[in-house]
């Protein structure tokens, strides 16, 4: 289960989502600018106040860290 916490105006979030789509990774998206519950969940669980945050099998990665995300998702290119 992959969750992406992002805001609509964040360029790194767009890059991250583009990358996931490119590799056919299904993900659930939470707009933390609007969704207060998701915002609090993200801040509490990840200890982060910055986006994007991606949750992959209960592991959190902050920012569009391509290498770490690829590793957790088993993406090779």
């Amino acid at each position: 289960m992959v969750k992406v916490f992002s805001t609509p105006s964040c360029p790194f979030c767009v890059s991250l989502k583009h990358f996931l789509k490119e590799h056919n990774i299904e993900f659930e998206e939470f707009n933390v600018a609007e969704d207060k519950k998701a915002r609090e969940e993200m801040i509490q669980k990840s200890g982060q106040m910055g986006v994007p945050v991606i949750e992959i099998d209960e592991k959190f990665v902050v920012g569009f860290d391509k290498e770490k995300i690829s590793q957790l998702l088993g993406i090779k290119d």
Partner: protein
Amino acid sequence: MVYDLIIIGGGPAGITAGIYAGRQRLNTLLITKDFGGQVARKAVAIENYPGFEEISGLDLIQKFEKHLRKQKIDIERDEVIKIQKTPNKFLVQTQSKSKFESKTVIIASGADPRPLEIPGEKEFIGKGLSYCAVCDGALFPDKNVAVIGGGNSGFETAIFLAKIAKKIYILEYGPKVKADKVNQAMVEKISKVKILTNAASKKIQGDKFVNSLIYQDRKTGKEKTLSVDGVFVEIGSQPSTAFARDLVDFNERDEIKVDFESYQTKTPGLFAAGDVNVGRYKQIITACGEGAKAALAAYEYLQKL
């Protein structure tokens, strides 16, 4: 394979160079971490790019990227860590350990936000400290925040945050703010923005997240504490040029010296366009213009090989 041209960077300069190179049918590779650079992170709408009376940075860049992708050029999402020169070609090495070869290179890697270099800054990145208000600003509803930097980007960040935060402090190191008249007039109308001049940021404090910022009033020498949950750093940018160190000359700000007719650096076949070079005016339109000129100069250079 040896490319005709490698473009490093996916902001306005790199994208424009890519469009021109594609149209000249140069065998081109563009390497970039992300598209848009500083433009995509801009806090308020762009109102000085002809043809678009008002457009967000992200929207403009998406149009740029779409235009670029119409060209027959290769694109790699990666970060360049080193450029080397052999007698006939350049070797470009990336973070993911790929190596590419090319006859010419345009450096259009732009600039990164300049850090404060004060205690607490590194520890609280992503925990209340941010260099991207359009990304993280929405996480601070009804909170008190500080914007460090009284130039245009600081003021634009404050204007953006005014829609979200409760109270915004702008801290300017000098005795006067440097933002232009339009931005100053806009901020004047927002009562929840307070401007502090002669304010030298000293330390960012907190527990799990930021809870305060200590600054020194440079007039009185006294240290003061602001209770804030967010600190947005907007004190300018520094060029991303370290990977080219051996092949170019820098000015005192680490900007690459170029010949302004061809945008060529001291190394033949190596060009630098946009915010990364010593050019005085850092605008989207000027970066585009330089990208176009560098691509045409690279084309001309290749014809003579």
